[in-house]
């Protein structure tokens, strides 16, 4: 016994000496802290973290899953960049259909504290392409660059895009048909009211929602609940088609003059709901007003605009400070046209009380009524150029306390469609109902696992590639999302087909391949199976 322990001491001593000199014994890879949301906040992300950890541990990584409050995660991730690996998501909002925002999350210039690239990925090739695509007006040329950027990012795996989660809505198909399905927004989009067809005497489309607008002031609202309502009674120069292509709307034609100049021919004969004509002065006023009042929510959209000039009675010219490709897809498709004669005298639009907020637009529907907390209604505008195609008389919104109330309203026929994602438990119940159709639409936002590239072992591309091979995304989709989602490949989701690159390098679940990659990079395992950094 005694001899044994002396011998062991000797072994330990030798081991210690060698490991200090670092010649024979390599250092073990430190434990990885994997941050995720609490189960209450998002059970899917919570469970995903444990599945990821299990996969990584299979190859000798030590993983400590740390569920945290959402605001704490945001602090640690964005503001302090104090993390090893974090699971988070980006929601798919219409203006993010343009690749600018999501590609920017890997841009080297955004790697500072608080910015959108907390992982700290920096690649000069990627950054050069990012700046070039932003200034490229030729969409095909821009597309080529966007695809290449995705290929670069996929190869270097600075993050693992885990999955795209479907948006699930439902509607009553006994009352209406011809619902328009749109990426990210499912059926609660700006085209559905324009195209649904009543099947009964009921010509008012009733929408059930669990939320109401923060405000219906177009110079104060910062939520989708405000804008998804307002965009029906305001017009925009461009609307994004159900296939997410920009179609001229209040604009008749868009004529690029050069890289920093765009002419917009405004459709003639349009009227505001108070009977006044829509003119180029109104268009010019709108943009100047937003710029002058510096409405922060839209700031990234109008920031590149130098000035808006009236060329003739039908044409306005946008002068840009520098080329800005998302001008049409984002700026012109998001800012509503405001009537100059209503807004011009309002000095502090953000301070308007609810009674003072103007609701005069020129859109296909006219604002009719809003009882806060309870009810909203818009009615079809007979003088709108799209009025002939609209087959309903009005849209009414009934505000429920939560998604459970909306669901009951749908089942009992009190509403015709839902305006928010059904809970997983409600989906099979809704599918059982004879009068209900469930619509499942892929999202263009994504959930990701981002590594801190400033820390070991994530600074090594081989480790990141191997880790990606150890995540079983198909199981996440089938088990956790019950099939309502798709495994992630790129920050631009497949549903955003024009910009998505389907041919990037993929990392299918393959522990053997992961082991090979690590072995080739010189990693080894100790007797207990723990992974060690490459030694000499």
């Amino acid at each position: 016994m005694k001899i044994f322990s002396v011998r062991w001491l000797l072994v330990l001593f030798v081991a210690a000496v060698f490991s200090l000199t670092g010649t024979v014994f390599a250092e073990p890879v430190p434990e990885i802290e994997l941050i995720t949301t609490t189960e209450a906040y998002d059970p899917i992300r919570y469970e995903t973290a444990f599945m990821v950890a299990e996969g990584w541990e299979g190859l000798g990584f030590q993983v400590n899953v740390r569920p945290m409050e959402f605001s704490t995660i945001l602090d640690r991730f964005y503001h302090e960049q104090d993390f090893d690996a974090t699971i988070l998501g980006w929601s798919g909002r219409v203006e993010r259909l343009d690749p600018q925002h999501f590609l920017g999350t890997l841009h080297g210039d955004q790697a500072d504290l608080g910015a959108n690239n907390p992982g700290g990925y920096v690649n000069p090739d990627y950054d050069n392409l990012f700046e070039a695509q932003m200034r490229e007006f030729d969409v095909d040329a821009r597309r080529a660059m966007v695809l290449e950027m995705q290929a670069i990012a996929a190869k270097e795996a600075p993050l693992d895009v885990l999955y795209y989660r479907d948006e699930v809505n439902a509607y009553n198909h006994e009352r209406f048909s011809n619902f328009v399905v749109m990426a990210g927004e499912a059926i609660y989009n700006e085209w559905t009211p324009l195209q649904v067809e009543p099947l009964t005497e009921k010509t008012v489309l009733t929408i059930g929602t669990p939320q109401e607008p923060d405000t219906i002031n177009p110079l104060a609202s910062t939520s989708v609940w405000g804008w998804k309502f307002m965009r029906l009674y305001y017009d925009k120069l461009v609307r994004l088609s159900p296939d997410i292509e920009p179609v001229p709307w209040a604009a008749e034609e868009l004529i690029p003059v050069d890289d920093v100049t765009l002419d917009v021919i405004v459709r003639s004969g349009m009227l505001f709901h108070d009977g006044e004509p829509v003119t180029v002065e109104d268009v010019q006023f709108t943009f100047e007003y937003y710029i002058e009042k510096d409405f922060a929510y839209f700031r990234p959209f109008f920031a590149p605009i130098e000035s808006v000039e009236i060329v003739d009675e039908n044409t306005v010219r946008f002068h840009l400070k520098e080329p800005f490709a998302p001008l049409v897809t984002v700026t012109l498709s998001q800012l509503p046209i405001l009537p100059k004669h209503v807004w011009a005298d309002i000095e502090n639009p953000a301070d308007l009380t609810p009674d003072q907020i103007p609701t005069v637009g020129s859109g296909p529907f006219v604002f009719d009524r809003y009882d806060r907390g309870e009810y909203k209604r818009i009615v079809t505008f007979e003088d709108h150029f799209s009025a002939e195609d609209i087959k309903i008389d009005a849209v009414e919104y009934r505000v429920y306390a939560d998604s459970e109330g909306v669901f009951t309203g749908l089942i009992t026929g009190e509403i015709d469609m839902t305006a928010w994602r059904l809970e997983p438990g409600q989906i099979p119940l809704a599918e059982r109902e004879e009068h209900i159709t469930v619509v499942s639409v892929p999202d263009f936002g994504y959930y990701h696992l981002t590594y801190n590239l400033r820390r070991e072992p994530f600074d090594d591309v081989a480790v990141r590639q191997a880790l990606a091979h150890l995540v079983d995304k198909d199981t996440i989709i089938t088990v956790l999302l019950e099939g309502r989602g798709e495994p992630g490949t790129s920050v631009i989701a497949p549903i955003n087909a024009f910009w998505h690159n389907p041919d990037v390098v993929r990392y299918p679940y393959d522990p053997e391949r992961a082991r090979e990659i690590l072995e080739e990079a010189g990693y080894r395992w100790d007797d207990e199976g723990r992974i060690l950094f490459p030694g000499d």
Partner: protein, 334 residues
């Protein structure tokens, strides 16, 4: 008179205590600005400072408390962070719906509780009396949210007889908002079908909220009725040869109502404060739902004001019950 004055004076420290607690509410979850901004994304320190100053949170807490306190009687109840509207306005918008539901609940509870209570007392040990005790026990012990869910499941989802939420269906014309009471507004607009609809919408939430009170009313009416019936003047009335109906309705019931009224008044305070869950379940656009929404959105000025209103309404109802009891029963007037 002395008694009323005494009760009023006693209420003052309670009110001050309530305002202190309500004011401290926002500090319970840590720094309110941090809490409010946590979901917003990237905030610069300058933004945070501006926001803090806007809310008056850059001053010291005592100063803040006094400006909060002096603002209350002037109608300055703060500004909703979520809706960007004065809190007073938000609350005044929601109060009618809550009052409407409370009145419905009380009406339903009286309609059920009083007759059964009277019959159980007059026909003691009859079938009605024997059934009323277990039913009342059930009524009192059933949690209102559970009852609400069961009512929705049974009468809306399964049978489809009654609406399971909101104040009006899509098939009824919406009257212009005048009083905020849907039934009253419909009457003012002479929209009789809307009025009928509004009443139908009141039925299930009113029942869910009123059931426990109905049971209580029933028990109290019964026992007080039993006591009154034994009194000499009832025997005398009977001896006079009055009809049983006249004896019960004119002589017995009126006197036995004293404790019932006290209970109703007290419960009104409870109902006003206890409507949060029912309003949530039935998507009722009242104060309770506003509070739940505001808690979720960290909209603490709204929560503060609502809690204050709940506390004060309970206090006022309590006071009223005391005064009424004293007025109805001269024996406590000492």
């Amino acid at each position: 008179m002395y008694f009323v004055l005494q009760r009023l004076l006693q209420a003052i420290p309670v009110v001050i205590g309530i305002t202190v607690i309500v004011f401290s509410l926002m500090y319970l979850g840590g720094d309110p600005v941090e809490t409010l901004l946590s979901g917003v994304g990237h905030i610069t320190p300058e933004d945070e400072a501006r926001f803090r100053a806007e809310l008056g949170l850059d001053r010291n807490p005592v100063e803040q408390y006094f400006s909060f306190l002096t603002g209350l009687p002037r109608g300055d109840w703060g500004f909703s962070v979520q809706y960007r509207v004065p809190v007073r306005r938000l609350i005044l918008e929601r109060l009618p719906a809550t009052f409407e539901l409370t009145f419905a609940a009380i009406a339903i509870s009286l309609l059920i509780g009083l007759p059964i209570g009277v019959v159980s007392a007059v026909r003691r040990y009859s079938v009605v009396d024997k059934l009323s005790t277990p039913v009342a026990l059930m009524g009192v012990s059933m949690p209102d949210f559970w009852l609400g869910l069961v009512l929705i499941l049974l009468f809306s989802v399964t049978l489809g007889w009654l609406p399971g939420g909101l104040r009006l269906g899509f098939d009824a014309a919406r009257p212009p908002m005048i009083t905020g009471f849907m039934v009253l507004d419909a009457i003012l607009a002479r929209e009789w079908s809307s009025m009928w609809q509004a009443l139908r919408h009141l039925l299930l939430p009113g029942l869910a909220l009123g059931a426990p009170m109905a049971a209580l009313t029933m028990r109290i009416t019964r026992s007080s009725m039993l006591e009154v019936i034994r009194q000499d003047y009832i025997i005398f009335a009977r001896a006079k040869g009055l009809s049983e109906w006249a004896v019960v309705m004119k002589h017995a019931l009126r006197n036995s109502l004293i404790p019932t009224i006290t209970v109703v008044a007290l419960n009104m305070g409870v109902l006003l404060g206890g409507n949060m869950i029912i309003e949530q379940i039935f998507s009722w656009p009242g104060l309770g739902r506003l509070v739940v929404d505001s808690i979720r959105a960290y909209d603490y000025p709204v929560v503060q004001a609502a809690v204050l209103i709940y506390a004060l309404s309970y206090l006022v109802m309590n006071l009223l019950a005391d005064i009424m009891y004293m007025w109805l029963n001269p024996r406590v007037r000492t």
